[in-house]
Amino acid sequence: MRKVSVENTGLSVLIFWIAAGWAGFCLLPWYGIEDGFFSFAWLFDGYPLDEDYAPAAFLIAQSEKMWLAPLIAPLLAPLFVLRRRKSDPVYSATLILAGGLGFAWLIAQGFGIGIRGFSYEWLNAVFGELGDRQFGMGYGALLVATAFLFLFTQGIAARGAINGDVFVVSAIGGVIIIVATFVFFPIVRMLVAAFVTDGGHYSIAVFVSKFFDDRLWGLGCFWGARCGAAWNSLFLAVLVGIITTGLGLVFALVVTRSGFRFKRGLRALTVLPIITPPFVIGLALILLFGLSGSVTVFVSELFGMQPTRWLYGLPGILIAQTLAFTPIAFLVLIGVVEGVSPSMEEAAQTLRANRWQTFKTVSLPLMRPGLANAFLLGFIESMADFGNPLVLGGNFDVLSTEIFFAIVGAQYDQSRAAVLAMVLLFFTLTAFYFQRVWLGKKNYTTVTGKGDAGVHPLMPRRLSFPVFAVAGIWGAFTIIVYGMIVYGSFVELWGVRNTLTFKHYITAFSVGWTEHGLHWSGAAWDSFFTTIQIAAAAAPLTAAVGLITAYLLTRQTFAGKNAFEFGTMLSFAIPGTVIGVSYILAFNVPPIEITGTGIILVVSFIFRNMPVGVRAGIASMSQLDKSLDESSLTLGANSWQTFRKVILPLLRPAILAALVFSFVRAMTAISAVIFLVSAEYDMATSYIIGRVENNDYGLAIAYSTTLIFVMLSVVALLQFIVGRTQIGRRTQFATRT
């Protein structure tokens, strides 16, 4: 009985994808619609004969775009195996060939023929001038490509891969294709761009001259001139990594190893950096410590000192990034410090070690993975940070801003941007590698499930005094800075007219009535709504891709699983600036032409934040016993049904955590976004950067404050829905990244 039903579902899936392929080929417009992916004006505007909106079949019938004709063969082929049994070798061979060749042809023609005919010289040489061109792929091409992909995976499954499980094979195939398209392809495009000369030719010499540029590697700062951006970035990132790890550890110790009363308040601190738009801290620092900042003026009057511009440059960026990223280190370390099993420490004390010795020789070494992770996070975040160096950088050039100005500046040098981005990527991947080496294969597991009672000892006294002092000072400083942010949004013109006013909020968020109804007249509404929409669109997709990947990684074994895991986690180590640059280089021209749309923003967020979804999913899924899946499978469900009906419902907290995290990240991201925004899709963060550049600090800060409160309520809502379990989980996955 059961066998028949499986065969039937297999058949209906096959029919579905064959039909989808034909629908994409014969019914939907093959090329991208200029008015936007979701506009349907084409239905009434010359469809199906008009060249811009015609499906591929109609184009071929009119003898246009004849290079699409070969696609008919792989679309026809699967029809002949409908009657065959799955176990028949012809069945699988036909599907693999049809799917594989169809997909390959689709890609080949997409890259081979662009908006100026053949994209490569040798094609012109072989076939002569084409005399025709094509634009980016649209619905039709997308659907046909998907159909080919899933026909191919069904063929593979029919050959017996992963027990012939169509769902798992298709999921693996799908994830591989989208990661290849949206992570690897742009990076490769960028690497290639680094070798392009002004005239559009390829040359190693160009790369070499740009790579060994003095502005990148110069060591002038040792004799009064300036150092190269690469050294600056590296030095800054190492400092930020060390300091944030140290401060994070201090806070983690206060929360877990002391009788401190306001632990919950300290924990609340951890959400701050996640919900803070990236350059607000820089602004607050200028208002406090700039040449005419409140503190500067106060101190210089008190001591009669000459105020200086010390803030602009390394010190300013360092302070701002430390403020911004310390809570992230804290988030990582608190889980680790809690995770060190008390029984180990008790054992040490029983052996007559005093508290200090216990801490130094037992607790601290066991925290090594956490320390390494925290350092790595601080390092990468600092490397990728864009907002703070932009506001506070002075003449201290760092890679992320240099990349930006190589692309947007009057020099407009994409290949220089690509070279800089490669250096940046090299630094972060090296850090990633060293972290792995340092941790090595040692075992840090102390919580074993066997008798694990006991409480953590308090900190040794020798440690507790400096720890409390540092935590107190830094905590107070953080509160002052954030207080400044709120206060600054109500001040009319900072430093000149310090009267309190709602002016900035009114300019940004005023709402009026006109004869057409409600009119969102505030200057910020456009970007605000776009941001909410893009973030809301990206969040569930991120969670979905992340969780499916996590399911594959925890529940299935297949060849190349390690490479698969590395590929899906790679985008975590790629700084946003690099993503931004590589996306413009890759997606501004056919076959995938999505710059200037909302889609590219959504896509960039999905792949920026996907690793978090993956980690959240893995963390929760490893807590679900495999026997649950097995019983579901034994009872006759297939793996899709098991995933949907058994695993998904149990993953609710992880799903919600991933949803909120990616939503919030999408609202505060700047480094990739700044390259990808367009007239129609301006995001809040890039709008605020524009205001900052325009000396409009009041409006920028008011907008940022609003964003902070919006996101705070989103996070609070989540806490309310999921309860405290969510924090535990987030800590857990954070320590595992």
Partner: protein
């Protein structure tokens, strides 16, 4: 599960709303003037014609880069505002297209000659002279003498008090460099830039940032276009504007239609409208103190009086060309920016 499905539904809806809206009459405007002016131009044009305007504001350098990047597949229609050099460069590289507006006979001569030098691919919409402004509070707090000439800025007492933008990223700063070369001759001009380099505390990325920093009290002297300095003074910051005694260069803020514009008819409508006195008078509402190109437009009483300023005969064709620009920038990079400060 329900909440997840709900979230998915919401997101699909948001996605649909975010990624597409069909409209009959629309155009895309790349704007390189200040944000509020750009906003006002876009909104007023919508009101005047009913054509929807998608506006992005980016500096002229950024916009030029964007237009060049998109040249295979142009997304914008009109590029309005920003200093003239990148417009001329775009014209030179055939990134913009020829158009002779019926409004042309109402314009000042400098606007028309700007158009003619670029084969009618661009046109002047406003002009402004280069100069500098200083924060009077900070100057007196530091006992600095009042500067009145370019050469004054080389005095050692101004060390660490002068700011200008980086000519690589800012059209304003490139105009400064080109003006110095024209006022003093190339060799002496570069000597001037070297001397100035010793006093500069920061090369900012954007052109008007130095005077904004001076307004906030984060810097003393900012080398900028005078109308930007006037704007800070009018907004209440303690800024004094200086027209340097040796004479000075100027910019012609320009407008061009992008080659291959997808909404050419709307683009031409905007172009004509932007040259009309009604459109140019909008500048006054947002404290933009440039001199408008239409003879019938009003000028603000606070605007610097162009007839009182000693203007040099700025060679737009030569110094706007990509080759000359590249050569000067490279020379500046190699000979000036690497010097110790």
């Amino acid at each position: 599960m329900k909440s997840i499905k709900f979230a998915f539904g919401i997101s699909l809806f948001a996605f649909a709303a975010a990624t597409g809206s069909a409209h009959a009459d629309k155009m895309t405007l790349y704007c390189s003037a200040q944000e509020d002016w750009c906003q006002l131009m876009a909104r007023s044009f919508e009101e005047a014609t009913g054509i929807d305007v998608n506006m992005t504001r980016k500096s002229s350098g950024e916009t030029f880069a964007q237009i060049r990047a998109e040249s295979a597949n142009p997304k914008g229609d009109v590029w309005w505002g920003g200093t003239g050099d990148p417009h001329l460069q775009a014209a030179e590289e055939d990134l913009t297209q020829e158009y002779v507006s019926p409004m042309r006979d109402q314009l000042h001569d400098w606007a028309i000659s700007q158009a003619e030098s670029a084969g009618n691919r661009t046109i002047g919409i406003y002009s402004g002279a280069l100069g500098y402004g200083y924060n009077t509070d900070l100057a007196s707090a530091n006992n600095l003498p009042e500067p009145s000439c370019w050469k004054d800025l080389l005095k050692p007492e101004y060390k660490g008090h002068v700011q200008m933008a980086n000519p690589n990223s800012s059209g304003t700063a490139y105009t400064t460099l080109a003006s110095m070369v024209q006022i003093f001759g190339e060799d002496e001009g570069f000597e001037f830039m070297k001397g100035l380099h010793a006093n500069i505390n920061q090369y900012t990325k954007s052109g008007s940032a130095p005077i904004k920093a001076a307004g906030r009290g984060e810097n003393t002297i900012g080398i900028v276009f005078m109308h930007d300095a006037v704007k800070q003074a009018v907004s209440g910051f303690p800024i004094k504007v200086v027209a340097p005694c040796e004479g000075t260069g100027y910019e012609i803020g320009s407008m061009s239609i992008i080659d291959g514009a997808r909404n050419l008819d709307e683009a031409k409508k905007f172009y004509d409208w932007a040259l009309s006195p009604e459109a140019q008078n909008l500048a006054l509402e947002v404290n933009a103190f440039q001199v408008p190109s239409n003879k019938n437009s009003e000028t603000s009483p606070s605007a610097p009086d162009m007839s009182q300023i000693k203007l040099i005969d700025y060679d737009f064709a030569k110094y706007g060309s990509s080759d000359e620009r590249k050569r000067l920038l490279q020379k500046w990079d190699e000979e000036v920016s690497t010097l110790p400060q």
